[in-house]
Symmetry: C2
Subunit: 137 residues, 2 copies
DNA sequence: CTTGAACCTCAACCGACTAGAGGTGTTACT
DNA sequence: AGTAACACCTCTAGTCGGTTGAGGTTCAAG
């Protein structure tokens, strides 16, 4: 049996976050000690590791709930799990594309300013005037 | 003079968001009509465009506040503006690096699963077992 | 003068936590 | 058995950057 602190140390998930996951229904309410403290089984630990890993990969709480549900129905086709991952992959790729645009724009801003004072600062001018931008955003 | 709706249409910033920016001190409280409705000058419109552009580039409210303050002191050196942009550029690059890792991992998950049902689904197995990952996250 | 769209304020909500107050349980050591 | 230190409990409120809705007022066209 593990205390909430044990789980926290083993998974790297902070204690209040573990309680939050319980409240959100991602973790089943564990047994309690005589003094009402949470006592987790090895299953509870594995479940939390799963959640941690999924969060690290950027899945939101709702998606994780779905993935957990799927895990409870081993006979079902894994089409749904594939779909959830595919959606997440697309979301990540979109973010990357967007951030690459921003990176170019910011890099351009930071290298083109040769002014000595704010009055002529390229940074502030390009923030004020969209036409100085490369990409449309 | 522009109404808040005019500003919204011209900048693409939603009306409650404009009021929120005012509350956050990014926009000066504008004049009001007889009936207490906001009436913006061309300056107000430009200020909001500036904010919109900076938000699009990912600057947070605090950074935008700093940039606006800098704009009010044209004689100062633009070192501070450069620093803010450089910080943002680094933050964006870090996010990109992280998302590229996730992209690889998710892509691997989504292509390696050839199972027909959840029991053998590679997706769920790799979420459960960190050792199946390429990168450390 | 009326109608309907646009506007006002205020409060609550979103996601995914984090922080703090005020109180109780557990454990190691004497 | 007592005590000190630390871990844990619940509950509330705060974070960021907004969004949503209720309930009421003003504006502009016909």
């Amino acid at each position: 049996m593990f205390s909430i602190g044990d789980l926290s140390r083993r998974t790297g998930v902070k204690i209040p976050t573990i309680r939050y996951y319980e409240q959100m229904g991602l973790l089943d309410p564990p047994d309690r000690s005589e003094g009402n403290q949470r006592r987790y089984s090895r299953d509870g630990l594995q479940r939390l590791s799963f959640i941690r890993h999924a969060r690290d990969l950027g899945f939101n709480i709702e998606a994780i709930r779905e993935l957990i549900d799927l895990g409870g129905h081993p006979e079902k086709p894994c089409r749904d799990a594939d779909r959830i991952v595919a959606e997440q992959l697309e979301a990540v790729r979109n973010k990357i594309a967007r951030l690459n645009q921003l990176e170019r724009e910011l890099h351009r801003m930071s290298t083109q300013c040769e002014a000595k004072c704010i009055r002529d600062c390229y940074v502030l001018h390009s923030l004020s005037d969209h036409r100085l931008c490369d990409t449309d955003h």
